[in-house]
């Protein structure tokens, strides 16, 4: 049995230990904010936090989350929205929005570590996350707005 936490709640898992975390949170917990995009860690739509680090849930087998604290988009906000989420809304980042849970989780991990990232650091942190609608320049603007405390 694998024990871990998702958004602060204790969970246990006894199924196929190779099952990626993505399908556990989506199909078994029914938390669908974390998206399936590629299944190969190529697009970032499935990004969640494991012990504060952004990871790709689509290639994270359940056996590797034993003892871990997982946070999904559903658990990112506390009493109020995370500064990155506020900035996303202020800048009107999403178009279709499908990738945005992953984008926000990736950006939040960056923000939590580095309050004022440079353009280069933003590019580096965010280039693993694909947005097919092409919202990149608003994502960059939102990260900066969050960094500057404008959101």
């Amino acid at each position: 049995m694998i024990r871990f936490k998702v958004n602060g709640v204790e969970r246990t898992f006894e199924g196929d230990a190779e099952m990626p975390l993505l399908w556990y949170v989506r199909d078994i917990l029914g938390m669908t904010g974390t998206k399936f995009g590629c299944g190969m860690s190529l697009c970032g739509a499935c990004t969640v936090h494991k012990n504060g680090e952004a990871i790709r849930a689509c290639m994270t087998p359940m056996r590797t989350v034993a003892g871990a604290e997982i946070v999904t988009i559903e658990g990112l906000a506390g009493n109020e929205l995370h500064p990155v989420q506020k900035a996303w809304m202020q800048v009107n980042v999403p178009q279709c929005g499908y990738c945005q849970s992953g984008q926000i989780m990736q950006a939040a991990a960056l923000f939590n570590k580095k309050k004022r990232p440079t353009d280069q650091e933003i590019d580096q942190a965010m280039s693993g996350n694909i947005c097919r609608c092409g919202t990149y320049q608003r994502i960059r603007a939102a990260i900066k707005a969050a960094a500057e405390g404008k959101a």
Binding site: G15, D16, M19, P20, W23, R26, D27, I28, G30, M31, T32, G33, T34, K35, F36, G37, C38, G39, M40, L42, C43, A45, T72, I73, E74, L76, A77, L81, Q85, W88, M89, N92, V93, P94, Q95, C96, G97, Y98, C99, Q100, S101, I104, I122, D123, Q124, M126, S127, G128, N129, I130, C131, R132, C133, G134, T135, Y136, Q137, R138, I139, R140
Partner: protein, 753 residues
């Protein structure tokens, strides 16, 4: 009972009825409401225009507006209701948007072709004006005063002489008992009184999208549902010869496999056939698929090889084709010309690769079907499932979720049909999930195309004759496999409407046979046509030793309307009088984009360059200047893009700007790495490692979008940004490096200087 998680407010209308709310044209409300009340399937008509389909008001004052077109990121779920709310003079903060199910009474719901605002601007206004008039009449009756003394003011009816007021909620019940007024009785707000049109509003889904609560097709759930993943025949038209599913069935969670019949030609919107693995979670279904042992009978399309096919297309493009438009005598002009310029251009197949792969959930109960899916075309979901299961299409309830991108792929409902067939087979709700590999390999691909261009220049470098010929497998082949020539609607996209003032001009098209499914992709044939036309005119400018901008404007010629009635130009369905091909508008966006980009006024460094292109598509005029920097290894950076858009009247400016910012990124993907190829009928690419799309670090750094202030009728905004971007980029690369890109993608070109 079926439940869809996170779909809040779904039951509002039932609640509204219980509390005696005002709902105009009750019988025309979405069927889902009546389905819950078990009176579904009555009184279906094909009436297209029913403004009263779209709005309802609760006694608490909440205004419900129906969004009947699909939301895939263009903001249409916000923009159309905003028009109605404006005309109703509703307080936008008190408006709830409800997504329509598939129903022909809404008119077309096929959300493609960038025409939602164009086609429904007036419809939305009429619906809003109708409701406003009925509320006004109800207030007047209540106060026993003339209707003319009453007016609407932000969710309230006011009696002008006394200042008496009543809220929309308070008037809802009385208004619901009044007859629906005729269109002739309606009075529309003057433009000066518009609250929302032209100012816009953020997406109604914004917060849900930023908190993971928004429901896409991928997120639809029903109690007791099973998950399916399907191994399709790797070659179009292929069939299963034999299957061994023993190992697949041993996978934990896998319940059964189901063989799906191959399609009967034409393939149209039918499923491809294959073997489905049914499991109790998505992962198990995927794992089961890995263990299937299938032998395929590939059929004739196994002979499809892209290298060879490309040569065929290019050879065909060098031979005389079918003439689609002709002016003057091109051959005579070529015969006496001094300088002849020729060029061949090539654009490969492209895949849509929306972030959400095709996905659908269906529940078949007897002869009734409930579907939840990410579709651009819910009525096609109804009709195709109806055909596949042999039931009336009214028995198919198609609920439309948000779409995780569409770009034209999700107009085709093949995946929803798969879900319905499988649900019927296994007796439970089934959710079909396509993997990324399925999405890329079994797409309705954007057509591969070869273009041949030829021009004669006079001694001043001006073109005296212009010949253009395109060859591509047509979208029509989807419905009629023996179709080889481009359909009129494809040739009308940036080809027959070439807007240049050249005395001798001939537009041709040659034949090509399709070997994969061909479909519409964001801006469709405009992509390859604009690439050839806008690149070639830049080549001519250089050959003439002229500035690209100045030459382009000269070739466009003086402001005029180009009359293509003689060739039956379809004009994207727009009336030629309301939507002429106006070279004045083309010139204006071109001049503005050049101005914004500092064309001719800036000193650019080594390896840097500007390129320009202008293109009219979907009745909208777009000029784009791309700035590039190419380093000595041939790496291309795009620091800045200036796009100027004349889309007529624009309802939602910020969302419109976002569409053109996105189009520059979409165009970057096409230009840099967009390439789908086939070997022995099988698609070579499979996921984002070999079908690469633009990421933050290779997308344009800054795209500035300027919207021309216009009172012309609205054009499209979702697609028209794509066509000019690619040639503007390639023209910029020429300016920076002297290397002409005639073949996409850039990854096939050596750009190192």
């Amino acid at each position: 009972m079926s439940t869809i998680e996170n779909v809040s407010r779904r039951g509002f209308l039932k609640g509204a009825l219980a509390s005696g709310a005002f709902i105009i044209g009750l019988q025309y409300l979405p069927k889902i409401v009546r389905a819950e009340g078990a009176v579904a399937g009555t009184g279906i008509s094909d009436t297209v225009f029913r403004p009263d389909l779209f709005v309802g008001i609760q006694t608490n004052g909440t205004v419900y507006i129906i969004a009947h077109r699909s939301e895939m990121g263009t903001g249409i779920r916000t923009t159309l209701p905003l028009i109605l709310a404006d005309e109703l003079d509703a307080d936008w903060a008190r408006v709830e948007v409800e997504q329509a199910i598939g129903d022909t009474r809404y008119g077309s719901q096929d959300t493609d072709g960038s025409h939602s605002v164009r086609d429904f601007f007036d419809v939305m206004r009429q619906a809003g004006a109708t409701a406003r008039l009925m509320l006004t009449q109800a207030a007047a009756a209540q106060w026993n005063v003339p209707v003319a003394e009453c007016f609407a003011n932000l969710h309230t009816i006011v009696h002008r002489p006394t200042g008496r007021k009543a809220g929309y909620g308070d008037l809802a019940l009385a208004a619901s008992k009044l007859p629906v007024p005729k269109k002739e009785e309606l009075q529309f707000k003057p433009k000066s009184a518009w609250r929302y049109i032209g100012k816009g509003a953020p997406s109604v889904d914004l917060k849900d999208l930023c908190t993971g609560k928004a429901v896409f097709g991928m997120d639809a759930r029903m109690d007791g549902m099973l998950y399916a993943s399907i191994e399709h025949p790797p070659v179009l038209g292929g069939k299963v010869k034999s299957v061994d599913d023993k190992e697949a069935l041993k996978v934990m969670g896998v319940q059964q496999t189901v063989a799906l019949d191959p399609f009967k030609p034409p393939h149209a919107f039918q499923p491809l056939g294959g073997i489905a693995v049914i499991a109790n979670n998505t992962w198990a279904a995927f794992q089961g698929r890995e263990k299937l042992k299938i032998e395929w009978d590939d059929g004739a399309n196994a002979a499809y090889n892209s290298d060879q096919y490309k040569k065929q297309l290019q050879e065909t493009a060098r031979k005389p084709g079918k003439v689609a438009r002709n002016a003057g005598d091109v051959d005579a002009a070529f015969a006496k010309a001094g300088k002849i310029i020729e060029a061949d251009y090539y654009v490969p197949h492209l895949a849509h690769a929306s972030m959400e792969p095709p996905v659908a959930l269906a529940d078949v109960r007897g002869d009734k079907v409930t579907v939840w899916t990410a579709t651009q075309n819910p009525q096609a979901v109804q009709s195709e499932i109806s055909r596949a299961l042999g039931i009336p299409k009214e028995n198919v309830i198609c609920n439309v979720t948000l779409l995780g991108g569409g770009f034209g792929r999700k107009s085709k409902p093949d995946y929803a049909v798969e879900a319905a067939i499988l649900s019927k087979q296994v007796g439970r709700p089934v959710k079909v999930v396509w993997r990324r590999e399925d999405d890329i390999q079994f797409d309705y691909f954007h057509s591969v195309a070869a273009m041949y261009m030829k021009a004669a220049l006079d001694d001043k470098g001006r073109p005296t004759a212009w010949l253009q010929r395109s060859v591509f497998p047509t979208i029509s082949s989807t419905f009629a496999p023996d179709q080889t020539y481009g359909a009129p609607f494809e040739l009308a996209m940036g080809w027959t409407d070439v807007p240049f003032e050249i005395a001798n001009l001939r537009v041709e098209n040659g034949p090509a046979t399709a070997h994969v499914r061909i479909g519409w992709l964001r801006s469709v044939s405009n992509i390859y046509h604009a690439f050839a036309v806008s690149s070639f005119v830049d080549e001519l400018a250089k050959a003439a030793g002229r500035d690209s901008l100045e030459y382009l404007l000269e070739v466009i010629g003086q402001p005029r309307h180009i009359d293509l009635k003689a060739i039956g130009y379809p004009n994207y369905g727009g009336a030629p009088d309301a939507y002429p091909i106006d070279t004045g508008r083309l010139r204006r966006v071109t001049e503005m984009a050049a101005e914004k980009a500092g064309w001719g006024k800036r000193k650019l460094g080594k390896g840097a360059g500007l390129g320009i292109s202008v293109h009219r598509s979907f009745l909208t005029y777009v000029a784009t200047v791309v700035e590039v920097e190419v380093d000595d290894k041939g790496k291309v950076r795009i620091p800045r893009v200036e796009t100027v858009v004349d889309a007529g009247m624009v309802v939602n400016p910020d969302i419109t700007r976002a569409q053109f910012e996105g189009a520059a990124v979409f165009g970057t993907s096409i230009a840099r790495t967009g390439e789908i190829t086939a070997t022995n009928g099988r698609i070579d690419q499979s996921n984002f490692h070999d079908y690469r799309v633009a990421r933050m670090n290779d997308a344009p750094v800054q795209t500035n979008v300027t919207i021309v202030d216009s009172s012309a009728p609205p054009g499209g905004v979702g697609e028209p940004g794509v066509p000019p971007f690619v040639p503007a980029l390639c023209n910029a690369i020429f300016a920076a490096t002297g290397k002409r890109v005639r073949e996409l993608p850039l990854s096939r070109n050596k750009l190192a200087v």
